[in-house]
Symmetry: C2
Subunit: 109 residues, 2 copies
Amino acid sequence: MGKPSDLVQGTLDLLILKTLSTEARHGWAIAKRIQQLSGEVLQVQQGSLYPALHRLEQQGWIKAKWMESETGRQAKFYSLTTAGRSQLEKETASWERLSGAINLIVQEG
Amino acid sequence: MGKPSDLVQGTLDLLILKTLSTEARHGWAIAKRIQQLSGEVLQVQQGSLYPALHRLEQQGWIKAKWMESETGRQAKFYSLTTAGRSQLEKETASWERLSGAINLIVQEG
DNA sequence: TACCCATACCTCGACTATCTACACCTTGCG
DNA sequence: CGCAAGGTGTAGATAGTCGAGGTATGGGTA
């Protein structure tokens, strides 16, 4: 298997929002889930993750609550706000538009 | 239709290489072609284009030659080198891997 | 007891790609 | 003549990510 390749710049917010759209998770779990769902291709570094989470929180797209994690420790659980849900839709549309456009060129004759 | 959306970070090199894979072009034409092929979605700013071209040339992936353009003016025509062609393959594979991984997450349940 | 490892949070500095905004030159056209 | 379109380029700012570090807790093991 190839090793993880980190990220495509600008897609981290989308990935986090999407990951939180099913249920609230803490930072560590978000990173694990992205890596797992992507088939071990995408890897979220902690130095990218936490600034991104704070960014999203400040935008009002996610909110945090301290809760007990599966392992019995305190952890910050993030969940989507209403604004976050509509932001997710926007970013999804934007990603599809842009990646589609790139594919038009890449897969062209 | 929506206005052009600039770029996805990290894909410009790929787009340029791909655009040059069919025939030699000058910078201005590369930008036009990317915009056109993408259905007016992607837009390459001049301040991104020229530094990128110089970067690629320095890497030895493309080479430049002054020639006369379609409009009768001197213009720098860039063409792929052998190394550039294999770089294009690498970047294409990398894009497909990464964008595929993102789609796995975005399109999930 | 002592120690390490996995979990979980965070920050800081460096890097790099891109954008915005310029500057410059040429050709064609009204 | 002046202006638009074609064509090349640079400088500065910005933003997102990476790499490397730091803190702390709980569980397991030697």
